[in-house]
């Protein structure tokens, strides 16, 4: 043994060898092609198939896109222009319809001179969610977030400024009462606060609004819900649905986690019921049945009714997302809160929910994307969604009868851009959370 060791073992390198360039064929375009496209017969076949698919796609649609016409007043004109320019057999897109009607795809029938209002509301949305979603937004602007919903409603629907102000006041009032009674225990405080708020809404808000409006009539021109359409409708429903569903979702999630059998059962029944039926049927409930469930004579706007059902729908999904967030919190957080003497609601509010909600944001964004896509279904209850409602309406015009593909492409592209951006953002957020949670 010793001799084997002796002759082979001891070795010292005296000069370190520098990096050598890789041999030819191991680098460069050829290697890349070989490795990525033509390694083995299966890959080669796949590559060829891929190229063929691209060819098919391009050869079919290239001409159509290339021959697109932007300047025309009707589909007939479009066809004429295409036939003149590219020969009688050429097919081409008639983008003129988008040019003429783009505002209806985006805003529905919202009065054009008031377009600034939804645009402003949309822009402010980012200020409102900024502190939650983007790290670079200072946390100080967070005070704006609870005000935003009222502001947005006022901007979108207009009317007296006192409506949103006094409704907001109602919530503030509830909060103040809660604080005042807080020393008698959370449950007490919550009940009293809720009762005061509800009484205020039932009996005080209406008269107060009239009163204030009579005294100081400040307001925006009001816009009826029936004027909403296109992406304005889709975004309003989507954002409104998610925003309103958050509190309900939190309550449902807590309910589902509760030790109390009855509460748990109710939560589970609600969540599973909503998740078990298609959204369309819920929309039908909104348009056909909701009036049966309300006291005779109550009657409100279809958009509001759809919003209620969309909110219920979203709440069930959000509840499941938040439940995931709650489950991800270590038990120690609950125990530490208990040991410090915080009661259930304080522990939830100060310790558990802030953390659980933060973890849930990517899930909430995904839910939002799904809901945003699903808002197109409102067309089946007679609303003008951007995908079918608005195009159908445009096609009812003599000038644009028979136009199909251009609206599909236009609307599809907008959906794609928005959703793709959001899904990328939510992925980014997920990665960030994972980094932070290590």
């Amino acid at each position: 043994m010793s001799d084997t060791e002796a002759h082979s073992v001891a070795y010292v390198r005296d000069t370190m060898m520098p990096q050598q360039p890789a041999p030819a064929g191991e680098t460069g375009a050829i290697r890349w092609l070989r490795e990525n496209l033509f390694s083995g017969w299966l890959n080669t076949v796949l590559t060829l198939l891929g190229i063929f698919a691209i060819y098919l796609f391009v050869s079919h649609f290239y001409g159509w896109f290339l021959h697109g016409v932007w300047e025309a007043n009707s589909i007939k004109e479009c066809r004429q222009i295409i036939a003149e320019r590219w020969g009688p057999d050429a097919s081409g897109a008639c983008w003129a319809v988008i040019r003429e009607r783009w505002h209806q795809f985006i805003f529905g029938f919202y009065p054009p001179e008031l377009y600034w209002r939804p645009i402003l509301a949309f822009a402010l949305l980012f200020v409102a969610i900024g502190p939650l979603m983007f790290q670079f937004v200072p946390k100080k602007v967070a005070w704006f977030t609870p005000i935003y919903p009222f502001l947005a409603v006022w901007l979108l629907w207009g009317g007296s400024v006192w409506g949103p102000v006094l409704v907001l006041t109602g919530f503030v009032l509830g909060g103040v009462v809660f604080m005042a009674v807080a020393r008698f225990g959370s449950i007490m405080a919550f009940s009293v606060g809720a009762i005061v708020t509800i009484l205020y809404f039932l009996f005080a808000v209406g008269p107060l609004i009239s009163l204030f409006h009579a005294m100081i009539p400040v307001g925006l021109e009001s816009v009826a819900s029936s004027k909403f359409g296109g992406f304005l409708l889709a975004i309003t429903l989507g954002v409104g649905g998610i925003a309103m569903s958050l509190p309900a979702g939190v309550v449902l999630a807590l309910g589902r986690q509760s030790d109390m059998l009855l509460i748990k059962t109710f939560s589970v029944i609600f969540i599973e019921f909503i998740r078990g039926v298609p959204l369309i049927t819920l929309l039908f409930v909104a348009s056909l049945l909701l009036n049966y469930f309300l006291p005779p004579g109550t009657n409100f706007d279809i958009i509001l009714r759809v919003m209620i059902l969309v909110t219920m729908f979203a709440a069930a999904y959000i509840a499941e997302v938040i439940r995931g967030g709650l489950a991800a919190l270590p038990r120690g957080q609950y125990e530490a809160a208990d040991a410090l003497g915080l009661d259930y609601w304080k522990a939830q509010r100060l310790i558990i929910l802030p953390q659980a909600l933060k973890i849930s944001i990517p899930g909430i964004v995904s839910t939002f994307i799904g809901m945003f896509k699903d808002t197109t279904l409102v067309v089946f209850v007679g609303l003008f969604d951007p995908l079918k409602g608005i195009p159908d309406f445009i096609r009812a015009d003599f000038n644009w009868k028979g136009i199909y593909w251009e609206p599909f492409v236009f609307v599809g592209a907008i959906f794609f851009i928005l959703n793709f951006a959001m899904s990328r953002y939510s992925m980014h957020l997920e990665n960030r959370l994972q980094r932070e949670h290590r």
């Binding site: 490795e35 990525n36 496209l37 390694s39 890959n43 796949l46 590559t47 198939l49 891929g50 190229i51 698919a53 691209i54 225990g185 449950i187 030790d259 109390m260 059998l261 009855l262 509460i263 109710f266 599973e272 019921f273 998740r275 078990g276 039926v277 298609p278 959204l279 369309i280 049927t281 039908f284 409930v285 056909l288 049945l289 009036n291 049966y292 469930f293 309300l294 006291p295 005779p296 994307i369 896509k373 699903d374 197109t376 279904l377 067309v379 089946f380 995908l387 079918k388 199909y404 593909w405 599909f408 609307v411 599809g412 959906f415 794609f416 959703n419 793709f420 899904s423």
Partner: protein, 421 residues
């Protein structure tokens, strides 16, 4: 409350204990909640009753036994307009289940292929599949269904164009393989015809063809014989270590009996023929169905592709390396190591996609395919004006389908859960 006080006996019971005593507190809360929920439900029910009264309507399902009076274009079980609304509902339900079932199969098939290809080392194919996934899942499924139906109605020839022009001797369009015709209203495909048919068995639901029954029985037989073969192979492998090849034998067991049976029954395809306005003879698959099916499959496939990809990626590279290092071939590694682990990750979300697809099938409304919503929740509701009854029944049926599917998923999950410390 009084009873609780009695029960508390000599230790004394103060009312404040209802709120401050951990034993009673949760009961108090639950009773309050129960009361609130009951009050809410009671309020709703009361409203419904009063509204129905005001409208002079009642709540009953007897309309399900009345004559429907309308026709359904694509019924899978015998149906005509003399049958009841209940029957029409059943036709719709079967249509819902049928399109969902086929949709799940094609979506899974496509999704698996796309998901696997997306992981392929082939740069081009990988990119193409990524584009597919991103485009399809970020655009509402309704658009895909509408695109599919528009494509079919706008691009396919009408049956008329298949007619041979007497003067020129040419037709505007020709059938694929002389047996399949794509038209702008349906796809005509051959139906199967048995020369020496065994007849059929009448049941209340639908007549069952004895020929098909025979085929199913033979296939079942093949399955059992094949299973015996595989078991024998396993035993031989256990004993000697060498697994006898079974592929050819399996193929023979599966194919030969069926072929023989088909031959005995004198099977031959009945090809669609243009007669009058339409093709007759074969089976006409309506475009509404095809569009819905295609739209749902393509859309859901994008999600399934992501699930499959995530499932495969979830099996760490170390597993493959360990298997390789043990000398397992790539195909065996896939079958024995990667797939069993990936499937555990894949199947639960896959099933919730199935659930979504089933629910999305209610978009049949966009193309006029008469599914459950189209019959019970559409025409029947309309003709009878029974919206409360029809919609609650429809929701109940969807709910039952969903619960069945997710129940199945839970059972599966518990079965395959990886054992951990």
């Amino acid at each position: 409350m009084t009873t609780a006080q009695d029960a508390s006996g000599p230790t004394g019971f103060r009312l404040s204990q209802l709120i401050y005593d951990t034993r009673y507190r949760s009961i108090t809360i639950q009773i309050v909640v129960l009361f609130l929920v009951m009050a809410g439900v009671g309020w709703l029910v009361d409203n419904v009753i009063r509204n129905l009264n005001d409208l002079g309507k009642d709540f009953n399902y007897s309309f399900l036994w009345q004559r429907s009076g309308y026709d359904i274009g694509n019924a899978l079980i015998p149906y005509n307009n003399d049958m009841t609304h209940g029957r029409a509902m059943l036709v719709g339900l079967i249509n819902t289940l049928w399109v969902s079932f086929l949709g799940c199969i094609t979506a899974t098939f496509l999704g698996v292929i796309i998901g696997v290809l997306r992981l392929s080392k082939n740069w081009l194919v990988g990119r193409l599949m990524t584009i597919y996934v991103e485009v399809f899942r970020n655009i509402p499924v309704l658009l895909w269904i509408l695109v599919a139906i528009a494509l079919l109605t706008e691009a396919a020839p009408s049956p008329n164009q298949y007619r041979v022009n007497a003067q020129t001797g040419e037709a505007g369009a020709s059938m694929v393989l002389e047996s399949v015709a794509f038209t702008n209203r349906y796809t005509a495909i051959p139906s199967i015809h048995f020369d020496r048919t065994l007849g059929s068995l009448d049941t209340a639901l639908a007549p069952i063809s004895l020929d098909f029954l025979a085929i199913v029985i033979v296939l079942l037989g093949s399955y059992f014989v094949n299973k015996m073969l595989v078991n024998r192979a396993n035993r031989v492998q256990e004993a000697t270590g060498v697994r006898p090849p079974t592929l050819w034998k399996s193929l023979a067991i599966w194919l030969i009996p069926v072929v023989v049976l088909l031959f005995a029954l004198g099977v031959n395809p009945e090809e669609p023929q243009l007669k009058g306005f339409n093709f007759t003879g074969g089976t006409n698959v309506s475009n509404a169905f095809v569009a819905l099916w295609a739209g749902l499959s393509l859309y859901t496939a994008a999600f399934i592709a992501e699930i499959v990809r995530a499932g495969i990626l979830a099996v760490s590279k170390g597993q493959t390396e360990a298997a390789f290092a043990l000398g397992l071939r790539p195909s065996r590694t896939m079958r024995l190591v990667i797939l069993p682990q990936a499937l555990r990750v894949i199947i639960p979300p896959l099933i919730s996609q199935f659930l979504n697809l089933t629910k999305n099938s209610s978009l049949a409304i966009a193309v006029g395919y008469l599914d459950l919503r189209g019959t019970l929740g559409g025409i029947t509701l309309n003709q009878t004006g029974r919206e409360l009854e029809a919609i609650t029944l429809m929701m109940l049926i969807y709910l039952v389908i969903s619960l069945l599917i997710s129940g199945g998923m839970n059972i599966f999950n518990n079965r395959v859960k990886l054992k951990e410390r």
